[in-house]
């Protein structure tokens, strides 16, 4: 279902115009300026870039803070005012949160395969935490396709919720859950899924968020024989399918994913169980 970018063959030795660029420059690299930074809430900011980058919902970029590090983030807005929405977590995101409008950064991408929205007439969207971010452009595309959209968002607490207004507009129905009940219902966003499936003739489920959540979504979909497309996360280094770091079983999240659907998910023994750190060491999720 999800469209495969089978090879980089066509990029291979792609015509380089010395008029415009460098000789032997980095592929898919864009120097970008931050044009706008929106504080969605104390822990989450949206960073807008000054370059239009053609991408599909679910695809991601590698954001480079020169001299610091480079990490993966999914698009939260596509097209002319493209953006990423980031949750502060550790050293990299903390450093990123210090940057201002006008700061120049680098991004590589887009990478990976995006969501496939064709054929989804009644779509359910299940998101947890900053997994909410890439599902907004997905909802926009679904809306453009005239799909019906049923959304369930889950967050730790009030302070982690974002894109509520946007999803309100985009969806036919929106449910919100929080772990502490500070916003929406107390509980987890999967709770709404069974209900959606029962009452809304859901034909495709899209989900992004913590892997326990995703595993749950997958199990429900398998039981109900419904298509699902999950956006998986693994430690991403090269993003070009060469270092192997982002593997889940024999699949590379950066290139075969990050979006996976039922047929492949079924084969993944590590789903919801193991992950790999920067050394390549496997550990339990």
């Amino acid at each position: 279902m999800v469209k495969e970018k089978k090879s980089n063959e066509k990029d291979f030795g792609k015509e380089l115009n010395p008029q415009a660029g460098y000789s032997n420059s980095i592929k898919d690299f864009h120097s970008v300026k931050l044009t706008k930074i929106i504080e969605e809430n104390p822990n989450i900011k949206t960073f807008y870039f000054d370059k239009q980058i053609d991408a599909k919902p679910g695809q991601f970029i590698m954001l480079w803070l020169p001299g610091v590090n480079e990490k993966p983030f999914a698009f939260s807005n596509l097209g002319k005012n493209c953006s990423i929405t980031v949750q502060k977590r550790g050293p990299f995101t903390e450093e990123l949160f210090k940057s201002r409008k006008g700061t120049i950064l680098g991004i590589r991408g887009p990478f990976g395969k995006g969501f496939e929205t064709k054929g989804a007439k009644n779509a359910a969207i299940i998101a947890g935490g900053c997994g909410i971010a890439p599902l907004k452009p997905l909802a926009e595309e679904l809306k453009k396709n005239k799909s019906k959209i049923y959304v369930s968002l889950g967050v730790r607490n009030k302070e982690y919720l974002f894109f509520k207004k946007e999803f309100k507009k985009l969806s036919n129905e929106l449910k919100i859950f929080s772990e502490d009940g500070s916003v929406g219902k107390k509980g987890y966003p999967t709770e709404a899924l069974e209900e959606f499936i029962k009452s809304k003739r859901i034909d495709c489920v899209f989900a992004c968020g913590p892997e326990i959540l995703l595993k749950k979504v997958f199990d429900i979909c398998e039981k109900r024989k419904i298509n699902c497309q999950l956006s998986l996360e693994r430690y991403v280094k090269c993003a070009i399918g060469i270092c192997g770091q982002c593997a889940i079983d024999d699949q590379l999240v950066c290139r075969d994913g990050p979006i996976f659907s039922n047929e492949k998910l079924r084969r993944l023994k590590e789903l919801g169980k193991f992950s790999r750190n920067a050394e390549g060491k496997k550990s339990c999720l």
Binding site: N8, N24, F29, E70, K237, C243, A247, R276, G280
Partner: protein, 304 residues
Amino acid sequence: MSLQTNIAGLKLKSPLILASGVVGISAPLLKRCEENGAGAVTLKSIGPNPRAGHKNPTVLALQYGIINAVGLSNVGYKNIDSEIEEIKKILKIPFIVSIFGEKIKDYKTIAAHIAALKPNAIELNVSCPNVEKFGSAFGLDAELCSKIVSDVKNVSGSIPIIPKLTPQANNIADIAKACEDAGADAICAINTAGPGMVIDIETAKPMLTFKKGGLSGPMIKPIAIRCVYDIYEKVRIPIIGTGGIVSGKDAIEIMQAGASCVGIGSAVYYNGFEAFGKINKEMQAWMKEHNYKNLDKLRGIAHG
């Protein structure tokens, strides 16, 4: 028409061997290479201690190749046993374990540990910067290479030993000869070339966090061909020709230069895991057109 080859006692159904450090960090990924037509696979180099490697960016695709400074991220040889057991369980083709040392003596220690796990061969990555010789690689020095090989041969029993050489050595053929004399069973050439650096002019910063990185892919093929050619003139042990091979014709070229097998690294970026099948098919098409029944007569004929 057959693509069968022998190298250091191993029988391969295809001369294509996954190069170390490229996707080869786990049993399932190696299995996927096998399914796609690899004749053998090499694990990412394993060292004395767990290492996270350098900070990202560590691998960048250039217009004509790849630049990397992964920094030898690895779990450490003490933590690799279960992965190797898994590999032995699911893999049908031979697998090669690549090891590196921060100090000379590391090679012996690690090789002894790895040999006990019975891989089909051990590759010695002597091409990484190190502490003992002020940051330059062991692979630049014939004497050190010779010492490392004989140290390892003392503990590796019947397992073939394959030193992997760096093109930064100006006398790569002499180094190969020293390795052969010390008992090496084959040579792998080459590791990445350069090193190189790429600066983002908008921020005026080197793009790799480690600043410098090794070059691989199409742009280093002429260097790999030259190295294999030079080595072939000096040694009798077989060579795994590695560097910039992305097509069947590339593979033929490096075999004509003297390689018995062909390492496949960056090609996985250009064509995904399907690279193996693609190159196998292209080799067969070329062989058919030129009436080759097998690869025996191809090796080294550019020296004729």
